[in-house]
Structure formats: structure tokens, C-alpha cells
């Protein structure tokens, strides 16, 4: 397996306070990494650095072997942000239009619709079992259904990596379970996944690796290795009990 994300000595601070310090790890093709840690530990900050949304104070990130500052192939990544389902009630977008946004990363000006776009959108909606809702306004869907549509938007370019930041915030328990099932299936089909979550008990059935951070990287390795060491923190302990 090859390394597709390399994080080397990354540090980030707001004003003078450190948010994360000297974090290094690498993710291989096919990994399903659960990025865990308590509130304020820097999980979202680290994810945003990997995505190029924040510039690290120190260190570097490589995606597919390329330095992030030169990286341009954004269609190889799919991203589902935090509070993604917090969509404005009046927002005028159908499910089809939302998923089609995902295709913009693969197009150059003039960004006209290609014949194959319809097929890609239909396929992405079919993966998340939302193919019947193409012409429905996204605001008319439940939180769980909206979440599936946003996954379809992230999947429409057939990305190699899917990055999700607390994706189940505001989604009910039943829908959370089927959502994690869906992620598990996608991972089995070969998509590398990085999932930021505080809901550590729930993700343990699906992740293959755990990155536990609290400003610094406390642990990075397989779930088995994680549980075989002495858990210092309550949240780490619950992660092992639930599996």
C-alpha cells in the first residue's frame, strides 16, 4: 500500500496560543482513519490543514506525493464539512444541483455541462440510495437524507480520499448507523477515509486506524494496538469497550 497523505511536523497557532504541535503521520491507500480527541484538541484544525484551508505555522503536508502548496488535483479528494446539514431554509437548490457542485473541481472554464455529468450524478446518488430525490429541494429532506446528498456531492468525482468532519452532527441515531454503514461500504470498495469524530464509540466498528490527538499526536496505529495499551483517558477507554 502506498502513502497518499503525509503530515510532517505540522504545527498551528492562533495568535500566540498553540492549537497543534509537531504532528507527523502518514495515511495509506485503503485506510479508514478515525481522527479522535476531546473538544478543542485540534482535530478540525488538522483536517483543515490537510485540505489546504489553513496554512501551518510549521511543517508540511503532501497529498499523493505532491506538496500541498502545489497540489491542484482537488477532484481526487471529497470533503464533507462540519455542520454540513445546517442548510439555510430558503436555499434554492435541488439535490441534483447540489451534487453537480462537486463536479466543478474537475472542470476548467468554460464550465459547461458534459454529457457524462448526468451519469456521474445519477451514479453518486445511487451509491447513497437517493436517486429518487434528484429534483427535490435539499431543504425538504431530513438531516440524514441531506447528509447522504452531501456524501454524493463528495463522491461525484470518484475521489480516492473522503474527508469528513463530524458528519453526523444533528443526524438522528438510526440515520447515523446507516450512514456509518455506508462509509464502511465505501471503504471496502477502496476509498480511503478520514473521519473526524467525537462520537468515538460509534465509529469503532468501521475504522481501521485511529489517530488520537490532543494538541500533539498521542497515538497513531490500528484499533487493536490502541486498545492493547493502557488507556489514560476516559474517551479512549470507551472506544475499546464498544468494539
Amino acid at each position: 500500500m502506498s502513502e497518499i497523505i503525509e503530515v510532517e511536523n505540522v504545527a498551528f497557532s492562533y495568535s500566540s496560543s498553540d492549537i497543534i504541535k509537531d504532528i507527523s503521520f502518514s495515511i495509506e491507500t485503503g485506510d479508514f482513519v478515525g481522527l479522535i480527541g476531546p473538544n478543542g484538541s485540534g482535530k478540525t484544525t488538522l483536517l483543515k490543514i490537510i485540505l489546504g484551508l489553513l496554512a501551518p505555522r510549521k511543517g508540511s503536508v503532501h497529498l499523493f506525493g505532491q506538496d500541498l502548496r502545489q497540489f491542484k488535483e482537488w477532484g481526487r479528494l471529497g470533503y464533507v464539512p462540519q455542520k454540513a446539514t445546517n442548510i439555510e431554509k430558503n436555499f434554492p437548490a435541488t439535490v441534483y444541483e447540489v451534487v453537480s457542485m462537486g463536479l466543478l473541481s474537475t472542470k476548467k472554464l468554460p464550465k459547461t455541462r458534459a454529457v457524462s455529468d448526468d451519469q456521474k450524478i445519477r451514479e453518486a446518488l445511487s451509491v447513497v440510495k437517493m436517486e429518487k430525490f434528484g429534483q427535490t429541494r435539499i431543504t425538504e429532506l431530513s438531516g440524514g437524507q441531506q447528509q447522504r446528498v452531501l456524501i454524493a456531492k463528495a463522491l461525484v468525482t470518484s475521489p480516492e480520499i473522503l474527508l469528513l468532519d463530524e458528519p453526523t452532527t444533528g443526524v438522528d441515531l438510526d440515520n447515523q448507523n446507516s450512514f456509518y454503514e455506508l462509509l464502511g461500504n465505501l471503504n471496502r470498495e477502496g476509498i480511503t477515509i478520514i473521519l473526524v469524530s467525537h462520537d468515538i464509540g460509534r465509529i469503532t466498528n468501521y475504522v481501521t486506524k485511529i489517530a488520537s490527538i490532543n494538541q500533539t499526536l498521542n497515538f497513531y496505529g490500528s484499533h487493536k494496538e490502541f486498545c492493547s495499551r493502557d488507556p489514560d483517558h476516559k474517551h479512549e477507554h470507551s472506544l475499546c469497550l464498544d468494539r
Binding site: 485540505l51 489546504g52 484551508l53 491542484k72 482537488w74 477532484g75 479528494l77 470533503y79 464539512p81 454540513a84 442548510i87 439555510e88 430558503n90 436555499f91 434554492p92 437548490a93 435541488t94 441534483y96 444541483e97 447540489v98 453537480s100 457542485m101 462537486g102 466543478l104 473541481s105 472554464l109 468554460p110 464550465k111 429534483q135 429541494r137 456531492k153
Partner: protein, 276 residues
């Protein structure tokens, strides 16, 4: 209707009015979705300073308003970034400073207060041909830019962070959106005047959003409402000698109210049917 179109000044008014209506409604949709619609009012205040400056120094007010509008809009962006102020605070500071300049100039200079009124309240039928041609050309440029970048702007309105991750140059498009607003406001100064300039940006889009359609159709409805209101305003003004700007804005307000009430009624009727 045929009689109106036989006059050269009315033909020009229709052409530039329709182009400006299209530019305002297209731009307005993105500003509304990003909760940034009041920047239109701010830039209108800034342009007032430019108009007064132009009248004082004998510069065509359209050009001085455009210059003030562009510098002011970029100033708002800069102030917001550098001083970490909220967007509305930055708009308030820059726009009121420019408004103050305008009022100060108007108070020390005498003799052009009548001219200033025509810029404040709009005077499409008596505007100079050069200004009319330039505003039509700029409106066309705004329309072209928005149509080319509509998908990116739509994505940014939906989720700016994801748009950035997909490689869209969010900073460039944000700056362009503000600059184009300045250009559009100055262009629409001739149609509805600076006092009501942002009305054509806000009202047609707000009305179209009541129709609960797809983004593509909402954008089309917004353009149709805007164009129809400008044509209606010009025709009514011609036959009944009403103020064009006031008529356009009242008409837009009536459309919005009708659609809002219609939508509420529809929801009420649907709820009753389910209850039965």
C-alpha cells in the same frame, strides 16, 4: 406601447433599464444567499459622495461615483480583513464617511442641489447619452461575468469552505462580487436613483425565492421579475408622469407581498388537506 418605442430616448431607457435590471437581479441572488444584500445600500451611500464630488469639480458624476464606489468597496474589504471588523461595521464606517463627504460638499457648494436630486431619485429619461451607453455596457459586463462564474458563485453561497477545497478561487470571486456590486449600483443610479439602488438588487431575488424552485429557475424568475418591473415602471411613468424609480420599487414590493401571501395560503391549504 408602439408609440413609446418610437422615441429615441425611450428606446435607450428601455435598453439600459433592462440590462441593469438583469445585472441587479443576477448579482442580487448571490448577495442575498450570502446575507450580504445590504452592501448595496452601503455602496449607494459611498457613491453619493462621488456624485457630489463630481458635481463640485465638474466631472461627469457617473465617473466620480464609479471611482468612489470602486475605491469604497475595496476599502470595505480591506478594512474587514485588516481590522477584523464585522462586515456590517466595515460597510457602515466607509459608507457613512463617504456620505458625510457628499453632504459636506453639497452644503458648501450651491447651485447643484437640483442635479443631486436627480441622482438620488433616478432620472432615466433625462440622463446624458454617454452615461446611458456606459451604464448599459457595464451592466452587460456584469451579466457576462456572473453567467460565466454562476456555478462557482452558487457553490460559494452554499458552502464557501467546500468550494475552496474544490479549487475555486474564493478570494478572487469574493472581491469581484463586491466590485461588481459597486459597478451595478452606480449603473442603476440612473434607473432608480441612489436612494433606491439596492432595491433592484434585493427585491426581485427575495420575490423569486418565495417560489421555492430550483436554483436555475429561481435565477430565471428573479431576472423576469426585475425586467418586468423596470418595463412596467417606464411605461407607467411615460403615460401617467409618475416617478420611474418609485413605481419600480412599489411594483417590486407588491410582487413580493403577493408571492409571500400566495405561498402562505398554499401551505395553509396543504396543511388542511392533510388534516382532512
Amino acid at each position: 406601447m408602439i408609440e413609446i418605442l418610437s422615441y429615441g430616448f425611450m428606446q435607450k431607457a428601455f435598453i439600459s433599464g433592462i440590462l441593469i435590471a438583469i445585472a441587479c437581479s443576477l448579482l442580487g441572488m448571490f448577495l442575498l444567499l450570502r446575507k450580504f444584500s445590504l452592501i448595496g445600500d452601503g455602496i449607494a451611500h459611498i457613491s453619493f459622495g462621488g456624485v457630489a464630488f463630481g458635481l463640485l469639480f465638474n466631472i461627469i458624476p457617473f465617473f466620480s461615483a464609479l471611482l468612489f464606489g470602486l475605491i469604497g468597496s475595496l476599502g470595505i474589504l480591506r478594512l474587514k480583513e485588516k481590522s477584523h471588523l464585522h462586515g456590517d461595521t466595515a460597510i457602515g464606517i466607509v459608507s457613512h464617511a463617504s456620505l458625510g463627504i457628499g453632504i459636506f460638499i453639497a452644503s458648501i457648494a450651491s447651485g447643484f442641489n437640483v442635479d443631486i436630486l436627480s441622482y438620488l431619485f433616478g432620472s432615466i429619461l433625462s440622463i446624458k447619452p454617454t452615461e446611458l451607453a456606459l451604464s448599459a455596457f457595464l451592466a452587460l459586463a456584469v451579466i457576462t461575468f456572473i453567467l460565466v462564474y454562476r456555478k462557482e458563485l452558487f457553490y460559494m453561497a452554499f458552502d464557501e469552505e467546500s468550494a475552496k477545497v474544490s479549487g475555486i478561487n474564493v478570494n478572487f470571486l469574493n472581491s469581484m462580487l463586491i466590485v461588481l456590486t459597486a459597478v451595478t449600483i452606480v449603473c442603476s443610479m440612473n434607473v432608480v436613483g441612489l436612494m433606491l439602488a439596492s432595491a433592484l438588487i434585493i427585491m426581485p431575488s427575495a420575490s423569486a425565492l418565495q417560489l421555492k424552485a430550483s436554483f436555475r429557475n429561481t435565477l430565471i424568475y428573479s431576472v423576469l421579475i426585475s425586467v418586468f418591473s423596470v418595463i412596467f415602471g417606464l411605461v407607467i411613468a411615460y403615460y401617467y408622469d409618475f416617478a420611474v424609480s418609485g413605481t419600480i420599487v412599489i411594483f417590486n414590493a407588491l410582487i413580493f407581498l403577493s408571492l409571500l401571501v400566495g405561498r402562505r395560503l398554499q401551505t395553509y391549504i396543504s396543511a388542511r388537506k392533510i388534516g382532512d
